[in-house]
Amino acid sequence: MNHSPLDPESAERLLSAKVISLDTGVGTSAVAALLDAARRPTLAHELRDEPRMVATIADGIRAAKSGSTSRSTRVNPRRRISLVAALAGTALAATSGLAFAGELPGAAQGIASDVLAKIGVTVPGPNSNPGTHPDVRGGSGSGTSSDTSGGGSGTTPGGSASGSDSSQGNGKGAEISKLARTTTASGRDKGAVISTTASGGKSHAGNPPSHPAPPTADPQPPRTAAHPRVGRHRWQLERSRLGRERPRFHRRPERRALTPTGRSRGGSSPRSPGAFSG
C-alpha cells in the first residue's frame, strides 16, 4: 500500500506551495489537493462577523492605549516582590553587620545577640557596646510600663526633660520611677512631686504658685542663644499663665532703612528692648 513515495524535499515543496507535481502517487496527489483546499482564498462566510468584530477589536485597542500610561507607572507584581525581597535582604545584611560589629543600640544588640546565639553565631552582647544607649529593652531601668505612665504625666512642657535625662544615665530614671511608686501623694499632688523631682525644681506643673513673685525691674525676657524668638514666646506664655498679663501677638518692629553710611535713620535700634511691650 505504498502509494506515497514522499521524501522530505517533496513534503517541503508541497507545504511551501512552490512546485507541484502530481505524478508521485494517488495518496500524494490527494495530499496536494487537500493542502490546496486548506489554502483556499477566504470564503464569504468566514467574514460574516466583520463589522461587530472590528468594532470590538478597535475598542479594545483604544482602551488598551488609554490605559497604557497608567499601567506603565504601575509596578509589575513580580518586580515588586523582587524589590521587597532585595530591600529586606539589604536590611537584614546591614543589621547583621552592625550586630557583628557591636554597633547596634544596647537593647537591639541584646536581641540580635540572643537570636544569633540560637543559630550558633556569637556576636557582642549589649554590655560589650558601651555608649549612651540603654542596655535593656524599655530603657528605663527597673521601671515597668505602668510605672512610667505614672511618672510621665509630670514631665515639663516642651519635652526638654528627655534630652537632659538621657545624659544623666539610668540613675535618675530609676529614682523617678521609684518615687512614682512609693510616694503617698495622689492625683495632682503626685504629678507635682514627680515633675518637680524630675526637673530639679524647675517645673511647676500641677502646682502653680498661688502668690506670683513680684515683677522684676527688668522685663527683658529670657532668651536662648539659638532661638531667641522662641524664648520670647515662651516667656510671654509663662507670664500669661501666671496671670500677669494676657498673651498677645507682638508686631515686629519696622525695619529701618539704613543710610548709605550704614547708620539707621531711626532713633532706636529695632532690637532694642523698647520694641517689645512689657
Binding site: A11, L14, R39, H45, A55
Partner: protein
C-alpha cells in the same frame, strides 16, 4: 500590502482606526479560524474572539512586519489552545474521520461552488485535525498560517530540523490514509498556486 503600506496600516490600527483594524482582521481572521478549527472544531470562533481581544490589548506594543504580526497572533492562538486543553483535558471536538468521509461523499452531489469550496475546506481541516497533535499543529501553521519552517519552530519551541521531520511524517501519514481510502483529487486541484503573498503583497 507591502512593508511600507503594512507599516501605515499597523500604525493606524495601533491607534484604533477601524479601517486599519478591518484590513488586518480580513487578512488574519480566516487563517486564524481555520487554524483553530483543526484543534477545537466548532469552538474556533469563540477562541478566535479571545485571541483578538488579547491581540488588541498588546497591539500597541507590537513592532515588526506582516509575517512577524502573523507569527505573533498565532503564538497567542497557540497559547490559548494550550490553556483550553489544560482546562478541558484531552477532549477533542473537531470532526471525526466519519464526518470527513461523509462530507467528501456529499461534495460530489453539491452544485453550489461556494458550498463545494466550503466542504473541501472542511474536509481538509478535519483531515489535518485528525493527525497527532504535534503534526497537526505544524501542518496548520505551515499551510493555513503560511509561516516558514523557522518561524513555526520558534512558535512551537522546537528546532527547525525537528519541524521538518514532523511535517514530513504528517504528510506521509495523510498520503497513506487518503490512498487507503482511495481519495482522488478533484480536477481543479491539478495545479497548486505557486505563491501566496496575501499578507505581504
Amino acid at each position: 500590502m507591502g512593508d511600507s503600506p503594512f507599516s501605515g496600516v499597523l500604525g493606524a490600527a495601533q491607534l484604533g482606526e477601524e479601517w486599519a483594524v478591518a484590513t488586518l482582521w480580513r487578512e488574519l481572521h480566516p487563517r486564524l479560524v481555520r487554524y483553530l478549527r483543526t484543534a477545537v472544531g466548532d469552538d474556533a470562533e469563540d477562541v478566535a474572539s479571545d485571541v483578538w481581544m488579547e491581540a488588541a490589548a498588546g497591539l500597541g506594543r507590537f513592532s515588526g512586519d506582516a509575517e512577524a504580526l502573523r507569527a505573533w497572533v498565532f503564538t497567542i492562538a497557540r497559547r490559548r489552545l494550550i490553556d483550553l486543553r489544560r482546562k478541558n483535558g484531552r477532549r477533542q471536538t473537531f470532526a471525526t474521520a466519519d464526518d470527513v468521509l461523509t462530507a467528501h461523499a456529499d461534495r460530489a452531489a453539491s452544485a453550489d461552488p461556494e458550498a463545494d469550496a466550503r466542504l473541501a475546506l472542511d474536509e481538509a481541516l478535519a483531515r489535518i485535525g485528525s493527525l497527532p497533535r504535534d503534526q497537526a499543529e505544524v501542518i496548520a501553521l505551515r499551510v493555513l498560517c503560511d509561516l516558514d519552517v523557522e518561524t513555526v519552530a520558534r512558535i512551537v519551541g522546537k528546532r527547525a530540523g525537528a519541524v521538518r521531520v514532523i511535517q514530513h511524517r504528517a504528510l506521509k501519514r495523510l498520503a497513506e490514509t487518503m490512498a487507503a481510502e482511495h481519495v482522488t483529487p478533484a480536477p481543479h486541484h491539478t495545479i497548486l498556486e505557486t505563491d501566496d503573498e496575501s499578507l505581504s503583497a
